[in-house]
């Protein structure tokens, strides 16, 4: 009798322990997804901040390439217009898609800007331009890293939310699957600038 009682108590303790630890890990994983998305937005912002300097430098050597400058300005304006609050963006597949598409458009415009150096040897040799270009490449690399981390965080969280036993806890406590927009292969890699 006594042994059975101990057994029951022990089983209850194990279940409670499991429940609490699973709940906690879901909370921290969801927080991880939000945090990593915040990082993604940070690095995109970092790229946007580089643009004025970059444009000014290139303009000094290729002032009449107005089409390229216009495209950069437009793409940048578009990025600014879709930039909404991080938490809702994360839960909204459509907004996320628009955000990433706008960022990708800016990336393309910038790679055209960088490519102008092929036609302007003095620009290509300019130290300031080389430095700005390395900063842009560095930022593109950061974007790739942080986006990869965000996707990984979402994957981990979603897998847990949908897990066989975990899903019981997840459903009871309102943990929902994060929709995420999977970028096409290579679309978020650094612009390829060949010398």
């Amino acid at each position: 009798m006594k042994a059975a009682l101990i057994a029951v108590v022990a089983i209850v303790a194990v279940v409670a322990l499991w429940y609490v630890s699973t709940y906690n890990s879901l909370v921290s994983e969801r927080e991880g997804v939000r945090q990593s998305w915040g990082q993604v937005e940070n690095v995109y912002q970092r790229r946007a901040d580089l643009i004025p300097n970059l444009v000014a430098t290139v303009k000094g050597y290729a002032a009449h390439e107005s089409g390229v400058f216009k495209a950069v300005a437009e793409a940048r304006a578009k990025v600014g217009s879709v930039n909404v609050d991080a938490s809702s963006l994360m839960n909204n597949m459509e907004a996320q898609k628009n955000f990433l598409a706008a960022q990708q458009g800016l990336g393309n415009a910038l790679s055209h800007l960088i490519a102008l150096q092929e036609n302007y040897p003095t620009l290509k040799a300019n130290e300031n331009f080389l430095t700005l270009q390395s900063q842009l490449e560095g930022t593109e690399n950061r974007i790739a890293v942080e986006r990869g981390r965000n996707q990984k965080a979402i994957q981990t969280y979603n897998t847990d939310v949908q897990g066989f036993f975990t899903s019981i806890i997840a459903r009871r406590n309102g943990f929902e699957v994060f929709p995420y927009f999977e970028a096409k292969q290579g679309s978020d890699s650094a612009p390829q600038v060949k010398f």
Binding site: A3, V14, Q135, E137, G138, R142, A144, V145
Partner: protein, 285 residues
């Protein structure tokens, strides 16, 4: 007694499977010392000199700087490769993320300075690019490998100087914790389960039917003794296996800081748990 041994054996098996599943990350070379020359570009004394330089820097500022010379990138981009190596080696102190990785791939004629989160402020992309473009690149081109790397390290140290004060606490990167919290929790869980089955076993006998019949048989009649023995064996085996598992995880063969580069600490050298978000710059020469 026989049954207890069997119980312990199964526990060890479970442990081993769990630990093996966490070991992964191929194609990142082993971290053997601060200077990892897999392409044979440096002499032993050159390696030792760089090693001393980097060790002194870490002693002063806790910044962890490592050099990797890799024969080939095997088609990978140097940015992705450096990021993978960095996050595997975990350069820099935990929380401070003050690590730097210098990668040189002679076959591709590419080089990169990869910077941890914590040093991005001082060691900006532009600074890294300038170091590569003006100092390391020309030297490598001229065949002055050692001089180039030495100057690169000197410039990096100059750039990061003063970013972090050497705090005594930040230095304690030596011994990792014996068990992580999750491992301890797992051990406790197994202990409780064993105990439960033991209690049930006493009550119902070892051949009780139902779904848990097999488990009951395995764990039954051990009682409290089984829990104690299991915990002790688990601890001992875990402690013994720990270095092996760590070795597997980092792809190391267990020989730290081997020939020539023995100026590192007696216990070898490893990353302090730092992280990188892909900062830094690359260049070709």
């Amino acid at each position: 007694m026989n049954r207890m041994i069997r119980t312990a054996f199964i526990a060890v098996m479970v442990w081993g499977i769990g630990a093996a599943a966490t070991a992964a990350a191929p194609s990142v070379p082993a971290l053997t010392a601060r200077v990892n020359d897999y392409a044979g570009k440096l002499t032993d004394s050159e390696k030792a000199n760089l090693e001393t330089m980097l060790a002194n820097a870490e002693a002063q500022s806790s910044n962890q700087i490592a050099i990797l010379i890799v024969p080939s990138l095997e088609g990978d981009s140097i940015e992705d490769y450096a990021q993978r190596v960095f996050t595997t080696w975990k350069l820099g102190q935990k929380k401070l993320d003050n690590g730097v990785l210098i990668v040189w791939a002679p076959a591709e004629r590419k080089m990169r300075i990869h910077v941890g989160y914590g040093l991005e402020g001082k060691l900006t992309d532009a600074v890294c690019f300038n170091i590569l473009h003006r100092e390391l690149g020309p030297n490598l081109k001229a065949g002055n490998y050692y001089a180039g790397l030495r100057q690169t390290v000197a410039s990096i140290l100059l750039a990061v100087k003063g970013e972090y004060k050497a705090s005594p606490g930040a230095q304690a990167s030596g011994a990792p914790a014996l068990f992580t919290n999750s491992q301890l929790a797992l051990m406790m869980l197994f202990g409780i389960i064993t105990f439960v089955f033991a209690c049930m076993g006493m009550k119902f006998g070892t051949v009780a039917g139902g779904v848990s019949g097999v488990l009951l048989g395995l764990f039954g009649w051990g009682g409290l003794m089984a829990v104690v023995v299991w915990a002790v064996i688990g601890l001992v085996v875990g402690a013994l296996m720990r270095p092996i598992l760590d070795g597997m995880a980092s792809g190391s063969d267990g020989s730290w800081g081997g020939d020539g580069s023995s100026s590192s600490d007696s216990g070898g050298w490893s990353g302090g748990g730092g992280d990188s978000g892909g900062g830094g710059a690359s260049d070709s020469y």
